[in-house]
Symmetry: C2
Subunit: 167 residues, 2 copies
DNA sequence: TATTGTTATACTCTATAACTATA
DNA sequence: TATAGTTATAGAGTATAACAATA
C-alpha cells in the first residue's frame, strides 16, 4: 500500500500490485478522475458528494453529517457554501422545529447530473479495453466490497437514516 | 455515480451498483478506511501519501508535486508540515543547486510502515469472506485499472520521474 | 530564458468548544 | 436533559501570483 514504487510496467501483462496496494491505488485513481471532473465545474469532491447525496431525497443537517462522516459544524460550512452558490436550499422541518432540511435546487441538480455523466464517461473510457466479462466482474467485486464494508461498519445504505462506527 | 440512493441491500446477494457507481463508492470506502487508520496516527491521507512516496527513494519537490498532482506551492506547505513533525528532511541536490531533495527520517519511516500495516489489516478484514478466486480477480482487476489509467494519463509508474496530463 | 522552490494571499475544509433553540 | 444547528476559532490543505536563485 501507500505507494510502494517497486512497480514495474511491462508493456502488456500488468504486474499485480496485490489486493491491498491495488485497491488503495485504484481508489486514488478514481478520486483523481472524480476530482478532475468536479474541478472543471469548480466543485470539490466533497461538495459533489453533498449534491449527490441530495439527488433523490431531502436530508437534515444531521443526516448529511452522518452520511458523509462529518462533524455537524463542518456540515454547516459545507451547506453554507453550497447554498451561497445556489445549489441547495435550507428549510425548517415540518414536525421538528430544530431540524433543518436541505434540498437540491434546479441549478444544483443540473450541475450534479452533468458531473455524474462526465465521471461515467471518464471511467468508462479507462475500462473500455477490458472484456465484457472483466467489466462485469469488476462491477460485481466493487459492489461486494462496498457492501461488505458497509456491513462491517453497521451502515444501512438503504435509508437516509444512517448509523455508523469507524472513526 | 455520486451516491444514487436507489440501492437496495438484500441480505445475501449484493445488488450490483454498476461499474461506475461501484468503483466510485469503492474508492470512497477505501479512502474512509485509509483515512481512519491515518487519523489514528494523527496523519492526513495526503501526508501519508507523501511519506509513502518517499518510502523507497528520495524525491525533489518538483517530483513530489508531479507524483501527487499538487502545485509546487502546495508541496512546499505539505513538506513544511511533515518536516516540522520530524518525518522528512530537506537537502540540496548535489548537482543542481535549485533542486531540493526530500527524504524520510527514521521516525517518518516508522510511522508510514505502521500505517501501511494497519491499512492492510483493515482491508484484508473486509475481504476475508471473499473466495480466493474472487480476491485474486479483484487484485488483478484493480491493478489493470490503475495501469490503464496511468497509461491514459501518460504517467510512468516506474520512475520517480513523472509526466502527466489530467487537470 | 527556463526551471526550482518559496512566500504572500485567499479560500475551502475540518474539528473542538461554546452557544441557542427546540423537544 | 438530550438533540439539532450555528458560531467562533484554529489549523491543514490548496491554488494563483509574484518573487529569488540557479541553470
Amino acid at each position: 500500500m501507500i505507494h510502494s514504487p517497486t512497480v514495474k510496467l511491462s508493456a502488456k501483462a500488468t504486474a499485480d500490485l496485490g489486493v491491498v496496494d491495488g485497491l488503495v491505488q485504484l481508489s486514488f485513481s478514481i478520486q483523481a478522475i472524480v476530482g478532475s471532473v468536479t474541478a472543471h465545474h469548480d466543485l470539490s469532491i466533497i461538495q459533489t458528494r453533498l449534491l449527490g447525496a441530495l439527488r433523490d431525497r431531502k436530508l437534515s443537517m444531521a443526516q448529511i453529517a452522518r452520511l458523509i462522516s462529518l462533524d455537524k459544524s463542518s456540515t454547516t460550512g459545507l451547506v453554507d457554501r453550497a447554498e451561497k452558490r445556489g445549489y441547495v436550499e435550507r428549510s425548517i422541518a415540518p414536525h421538528d422545529g430544530r431540524s433543518v432540511l436541505v434540498t437540491l435546487t434546479t441549478s444544483g441538480r443540473r450541475v450534479v447530473d452533468r458531473v455524474a455523466t462526465e465521471v461515467a464517461r471518464e471511467i468508462n473510457a479507462v475500462i473500455e479495453d477490458l472484456s465484457d466479462v472483466d467489466r462485469r466482474r469488476l462491477s460485481q467485486l466493487a459492489s461486494r466490497f462496498v457492501h461488505l464494508d458497509a456491513e462491517a461498519r453497521g451502515i444501512d445504505l438503504t435509508a437516509g437514516q444512517t448509523t455508523q462506527r469507524r472513526n
